[in-house]
Amino acid sequence: MEILLAAVVVLDSTLRLATPLILAALAGLFSERSGIIDIGLEGKMLGAAFAAGCVAAVTGSAWVGLTAAIAASVLLALLHGYACITHRGNQVVSGLAINILVSGLTAFLAVAWFAQGGRTPQLPDSARFLSMEWPGADVLDAVPIVGVVYGELLSGHNVIVYLTWLAVPAVALALYRTRFGLRLRAVGENPFAVDTAGVSVSGVRYRALVCAGVLCGLAGAYLALAQSAGFLRDMTAGKGYIALAALIFGNWRPVPAMLACLLFGCLDAVSIRLQGASLPGLGEVPVQLVQALPYVLTVVLLAGFVGRGVAPKAIGVPYTKEG
């Protein structure tokens, strides 16, 4: 029973921690499947978190904050598109530029506007996305196992977590079962085939970037309005890069990418549990070591297993038809 409870707690926090990763990985899936490298997931998420924090603080509404987050993230995505699609710029450079720009700009603006050391004001609960208890959770609480699973694991998350659960099958359907998905996959493999089929390469790519923007917006809003109560300086802390790693690890497919995100989330959850714990024979585990675990695993997984992954063939190559 003890162990079960511990497992449920870890799984529960896995879900919470994996949510922004999954959203960002799905965002990256749209851009990268269309052939645009998306290093800028991190920046889009951070920008969205900042917009969410500011707007929710001013308006007092989480939903308006969410809208602002999406708008900010989509704008950044369009900026990336303008540089890489319209002007055929280098996609890695543009993505990095966005990350650096957003990191500096949000910290600066937060200090300038709110003067709270680079954060936005602490949000009241009314301006956040709170966990929602499912009906009957308290009744079922008495039932062994089912009660814990229902009450702790399924019920009691906020709306963005549930949206994320829906987003994975939705993205998979969009990718494999719709016209847009067909064109998206085609344009990342062979843009010439798309162009000669009478479909605009830039059009498909811009649309993919907008989808990515929306998903990163959700991820950023989750960080600022659900996980914390406001924006904190550099609060994404590398999640965009981890999401990108999960995407690659998942071979640019929605479900495997989600599983990879859950794995990273789980490691994170375990490492939080392990902090301060002492293991038999080892004594107390150093905090830094535990915190480094997810990153170490990223490197190991990427180095060891991703060799067989097949990236979209045209990724990173600006589309030009005449020499």
Partner: protein, 537 residues
């Protein structure tokens, strides 16, 4: 789609005109397609010079010209893929401006591209659907596409596997997918840029029957090919291009192969010399009960044995997709051998292309874009692929670029690659010139064995003549040569022995002299003739 003046572009007239008719057509008397003074520059290269072309509806119109003459460029302009620098396009008499291929497709123009425009990870069905899905959801669109493709396959006898990613299909089948894709879209004006370069004779016949039928229904067909016999067989009129300009128009009935050839190259083509075959020497390539599987584990080559001796050319004929490509790749060390052995000059060889090169085996891959050249590379970089350790190109870690460049220029001049500029990007060479560049790299490198797939794919008449001469002189110098080609004439022309593959097996091996085309046709169909010896004596 922008038209000037503002009326929508009318459909091409559907009234069938008897083929070869002199009258210029359509309800309003205008030709289906008219190009006026079209000019196109690629940087310094003047690819099209004031081209005038007029094609009547309901006819098959041939375009011929040497490699780099500007045929593909011109057709890409008509298809809205490139924009002309100057000039006008008129469809059924109305001026049109195409901003992209979507506009051309909306005007019911279809095109089969010389360099296939296929998404390799997609199946044939998905490739056909792309851009013509018909509905936002793929489920119903896919079912519709499948039905229609099945109909087209039946009607025109072009069989392809529908559910295999096209990247795993051999080039001949990819060509069929490309043709089906264009037919699927059902255009009124259909441009075919070298559609027959890797089809077998029977498939070519089938395709021409389709073209006749379509023309009979009032469609307009533009056909580009280097095979003049095809021009004579399939077209009503023919236009000849030379260095970017159209130099002549003829009614096919009023002209001859030699006249067209002369117009094309500006000189007379001499018939190829057969050379003096040498007495074959010892065996340089032995294939001993080899079986090859594809990536999904299906056996593509079954228990094949043969040998090629010094000083002989063995040709492999067969309908594309019967294991020739897989066999060639296995021989080149690009594909593992499941069972059996390959011996080069008596020594067993491992599945490794570097090992083959060390043993003096050179390989001209069937598909230059997929496995022969690197498109974004400069010509001189593409020209040393796999041979960059050659001491001529520098020592240690350093590549001696001036040496690479001058060596490449020499090769380009020998093989008549135009322009012979080693700094040109590979992608910017015309299709036939890319092919010659690849041959220039490999052919001289064969010290013992040369493996060639589709050697003259997309190469013009003069080039074919030159390449055949080269292959023969290598044979006469005592090399062993294995030739895979979809072009039966080429095989009969070059080979001393002809083997036929069907269903992954060798159906027979006959001396070329005796290899009557009819016998080969039977063998290709999988009929084993008892009087055909299974192995060379």
């Amino acid at each position: 789609m922008t038209t000037s003046p503002t009326e929508p572009v009318p459909r091409t007239s559907r009234s069938a005109i008897p083929s070869g008719d002199e009258t210029v057509t359509a309800a309003n008397g205008a030709p289906a397609v008219e190009l006026r003074a079209v000019d196109k520059w690629f940087g310094q290269v003047h690819a099209n010079r004031r081209v005038d072309l007029s094609v009547s509806s309901g006819t098959v119109h041939g375009i011929v010209g040497e490699n780099g003459a500007g045929k593909t460029t011109l057709m890409n302009i008509l298809y809205g893929f490139y924009r002309a620098d100057r000039g006008q396009i008129l469809i059924a008499g109305k001026p049109v401006v195409f901003r992209n291929s979507g506009d051309a497709i909306a005007t019911r123009i279809g095109m089969i591209h010389q360099h296939f425009m296929l998404v390799e990870t997609f199946t044939a069905v998905e490739n056909a659907m792309l851009g013509a899905e018909g509905s936002p959801l793929l489920g119903p669109a896919g079912r519709r596409a499948r039905r229609k493709l099945a109909e087209l396959e039946r009607e025109f006898g072009l069989q392809v596997p529908m559910d295999v990613p096209v990247g795993e299909l051999p080039v001949g089948q990819q060509q069929r997918v490309e043709i089906l894709k264009a037919l699927y879209r059902g255009a009124d004006i259909l441009v075919l840029d070298e559609p027959t370069s890797v089809l077998s004779p029977r498939e070519v016949e089938g395709l021409f029957r389709i073209l006749r039928t379509l023309a009979g229904r009032g469609k307009t067909i533009i056909l580009i090919t280097h095979k003049l016999a095809e021009i004579m067989a399939a077209t009503d009129r023919v236009s000849v291009m030379r260095s970017g300009a159209v130099v002549a128009h003829r009614r096919t009935a009023d002209t001859t192969v030699s006249e067209i050839a002369e117009l094309m190259v500006g000189r007379q083509i001499r018939p190829a010399s057969r050379g003096v075959p040498v007495e074959p020497g010892r065996s340089l390539l032995d294939v001993d009960r080899v079986t090859v599987r594809d990536s999904s584990g299906v056996a593509r080559v079954h228990d094949v044995s043969f040998s090629v001796r010094a000083g002989e050319i063995v040709g492999i004929a067969g309908v594309a997709g019967n294991g020739q490509s897989e066999l060639l790749e296995a021989l080149a060390g690009l594909r593992p051998v499941a069972t059996g052995r390959i011996l080069v000059d008596g020594e067993p060889a491992v599945s490794d292309s570097r090992d083959r090169r060390r043993r003096g085996v050179a390989h001209v891959p069937e598909d230059r874009r997929r496995s022969g050249l690197v498109m974004p590379f400069r010509a001189c970089e593409s020209a040393i692929l796999g041979y960059h350790h050659d001491p001529r190109y520098g020592r240690g870690l350093r590549l001696d670029w001036p040496a690479v460049s001058s060596d490449t220029r020499g090769r380009m001049e020998t093989f008549d690659v135009r322009p012979a500029n080693p700094q040109q990007r590979t992608a910017e060479l015309s299709g036939g010139n890319q092919q010659k560049l690849m041959l220039a790299r490999e052919v001289e490198r064969a010290t013992k064995v040369l493996l060639v797939g589709q050697p003259t794919r997309g190469v013009d008449l003069g080039g074919v003549e030159f390449i055949h001469d080269r292959i023969r002189s290598l044979r006469d110098a005592g090399k062993a040569m294995l030739l895979v080609s979809a072009n039966l004439d080429e095989i009969l022309d070059l080979s001393d022995w002809v083997m036929v593959m069907a269903g992954g097996r060798i159906m027979g091996k006959v001396p070329a002299g005796r290899a009557a085309e009819r016998d080969l046709g039977l063998l290709m169909g999988g009929v084993r003739k008892s009087d055909v010896p299974d192995r060379a004596p």
